[in-house]
């Protein structure tokens, strides 16, 4: 039985579900128990499970990440929450030097079942320290898993899997997705952390999108469809491990790929996808793999420049025009997403 709920609610339900069936799970992080509850994703947790299982921490991202490792070694299953991935950087030493190598150091004797949630992406004129994603940094390190669900059903199902996974999982949630609604079953099944999902089938070209870019990709596909162009939209969902099979299969069908990443391009995840496609199905490509992402600069505050920093559906359409040799489409009548006009769903 499906119902339509928001991404935020889906996260919240998944956490509570797991906390009810497994007393080892606990939630902690800066401000997780204040009245705002990390944009509402942690509502009701401290009320139901008590302050020992849901607590706000001192401003000590470095120590609190190591704390999670220690708790995980000793049998608990921590969910560490960061309101912004930009702040999570303070934990890079623990992530890279301690957490990611711990299972390796113990030759698998001890495991690190920690989930680290962080909110990513565009906010509201918040400038360069409240703007980033950084999934390629985390995905670069062996031993860490990195996922970026876009739809509410994936937010719930993948968070359940992440909590049950005995590996450290970095779980990145786009700010603008929090209000997006979608169909989610009453009984959510765990969704594996290693597969892409084809959101929309098409024949002329493929867009493989990350996080918020799935929304932009679907918008671009809808507009292009009106002009007789059929775009296949893939939601990548899992950055590491990355399921290239779905993308390869699509490229074999369409021959054109745009990787719509939500990050800088230089040394970014989109380069990894492109490289994998060139290795696997070069002969099926009718054009080079196109990559899109942040402008090569820092996210500014002022609205007209902030609009240029982040990639959009318009960028996808213009790239497709070049790849497919289409005439320039008149987009003046179209409504695109902006801070003032966000996609609300349902997906």
């Amino acid at each position: 039985m499906n119902r339509v709920i928001s991404y935020r609610e889906a996260l919240n339900e998944a956490i509570k579900h797991e906390m009810r069936i497994d007393p080892r799970v606990f939630v902690y992080g800066i401000d997780v128990a204040d009245h705002k509850r990390t944009f509402g994703s942690n509502l009701g947790i401290v009320e139901e499970f008590g302050p020992a299982r849901c607590f706000s921490t001192p401003l000590s991202e470095d120590a609190m990440t190591g704390f999670g490792l220690g708790a995980a070694i000793n049998g608990l299953r921590p969910i560490h929450v960061h309101i912004r991935v930009d702040f999570m950087i303070l934990a890079m030493n623990q992530l890279t030097n301690m957490i990611s190598s711990y299972s390796y150091a113990t030759c698998g004797q001890l495991k690190v079942p920690i989930v680290i949630r962080a909110v990513i992406g565009r906010g509201w004129g918040q400038s360069w320290q409240h703007s980033k994603t950084l999934h390629s940094w985390f995905a670069h390190i062996p031993g860490l898993k990195v996922v970026m669900p876009a739809r509410p059903i994936d937010a719930a199902g993948m968070l359940i899997s992440a909590i049950r996974d005995n590996n450290p999982v970095i779980f990145l949630e786009h700010r603008w997705l929090y209000d997006v609604t979608g169909e989610v079953p009453e009984q959510v099944d765990a969704i594996p952390l290693d597969g892409c999902e084809v959101l929309k089938e098409g024949n002329d070209a493929t867009v493989a999108a990350v996080s918020w870019m799935t929304v932009e990709a679907i918008k671009a596909a809808e507009i292009l469809e009106k002009h007789g162009v059929s775009i296949e939209v893939i939601d990548i969902r899992s950055i590491s491990p990355f399921d290239s099979a779905t993308v390869i299969e699509s490229v074999k069908k369409t021959g054109h790929l745009v990787v719509a990443d939500y990050d800088w391009l230089h040394c970014g995840f989109s380069a990894e996808v492109a490289s994998t496609i060139y290795d696997s199905c070069m002969e099926h490509l009718k054009s080079p793999v196109s990559r899109m992402g942040f402008a090569p600069t820092h996210c500014p505050c002022t609205r007209p420049l902030e609009n240029l920093f982040y990639p959009t559906a318009q960028d996808i359409i213009r790239i497709m025009e070049i790849k497919l040799g289409l005439p320039g489409i008149d987009l003046s009548g179209e409504e695109f997403y902006s801070y003032g006009n966000k996609f609300k769903g349902p997906f």
Binding site: S60, F67, L76, M98, Y104, C107
Partner: protein, 317 residues
């Protein structure tokens, strides 16, 4: 308390003989791992670990030979790890700086200074949460107290009332830089006393005194859940990394060393033992330990290296 003295001496003697064995063979270039030696620190390793239960947990730094041997009492897997063999504590993949013995309670060692300290508070939190009455003791040097994450961890442990003992093995050096060149304050214990924890200090090289202090500290923390901070001074006999002395480098004086050597932990405890048991008994227990270390070294040299497939194993659970 003859048995306690005997046990402490045996532990320290085992540490010392293992370190000497490494010194004997290091030039053969078969132990291809940097050695941060525990010579001079034996009283702390033995005294604190003796005060812990077998079920208690410890964490340490790249200089963990002493606490490894004190907590496990074994040298077979220890030497195998030094020689990079599959029978080592991490199948050779960790080396000297990353010793582990989870079944004996040594749950993490780390080379990046202070990075194991927050892990210790998380482990203590879990112990408190499940109510298993286990204590965590985290060992670190004075250099680690320069790092921000040490203060973050101390703060959190005191705030959350965690069953943890912070053991600062203070040799006044972070590699070659003495504390007066690193600290904008006079006494660290004055600062730590401002936190909600109990602070204990000692400059003794008598393992029994350290044992008594640690026992007291651990007992109070078990009961009150106020963390304990032990500030214990010792002298690092050898260079920062390697198996030699380095007084010729000039940053320390041999004269200062000789004063500490005069109260060497083993020398102190041996004298105390000879007042209680016959010399022959001491010599016998020493010979047993010499033989034990010799056997471990031989076993290690004969053991195979890990197979090549081991390179990529256990990255993920």
């Amino acid at each position: 308390m003859k048995d306690l003295k005997i046990q402490l001496y045996k532990t320290m003697y085992l540490i010392r003989r293992a370190e000497v064995k490494i010194q004997e063979h290091y030039a053969e270039d078969e132990m291809k791992t940097p050695m941060h030696m525990s010579m001079g620190a034996e009283a702390i390793s033995a005294g604190v670990c003796q005060a812990l239960e077998t079920s208690d947990q410890i964490l340490g730094t790249y200089r963990s030979h002493g606490i490894y041997i004190a907590k496990t009492g074994e040298t077979d897997n220890f030497f195998a790890e030094m020689y990079g063999r599959v029978t080592g504590t991490s199948k050779g993949k960790g080396g000297s700086m990353h010793l582990l013995a989870p079944k004996s309670g040594l749950i993490a060692t780390s080379a990046v200074v202070s990075s194991h300290i927050p892990v210790a508070i998380g482990a203590a939190f879990a112990n408190k949460q499940v109510g298993n009455k286990r204590m965590v003791a985290v060992f670190f040097g004075d250099g680690a107290t320069d790092e921000g994450v040490f203060w973050e961890s101390l703060n959190a442990a005191c705030l959350m009332k965690l069953p943890i003992v912070f053991v600062c093995e203070d040799n006044d050096l972070a590699i070659h830089t003495p504390s007066f060149l690193r600290h904008g304050y006079k006494k660290i214990t004055d600062i730590i006393q401002q936190f909600d924890c109990n602070v204990y200090s000692s400059e003794s090289t008598d393992a029994e005194e350290i044992y008594n202090l640690a026992t007291q500290a651990i007992g109070v923390t078990r009961e009150t859940f106020r963390p304990a901070f032990l500030h214990l001074k010792y002298y690092r006999y050898l260079e920062h990394v390697g198996v030699f002395e380095d007084f010729q480098a000039g940053y320390r004086s041999r004269k200062e060393f000789e004063a500490w050597l005069d109260v060497d932990p083993l020398k102190v405890m041996r004298s105390k033992l000879l007042e209680l048991i016959p010399a022959e008994q001491v010599i016998n227990l020493e010979q047993d330990i010499i033989d034990k270390v010799e056997r471990s070294d031989e076993l290690a040299r004969k053991a195979p290296f890990p197979e090549l497939e081991e390179l990529c194993r256990s990255v993920y659970a």
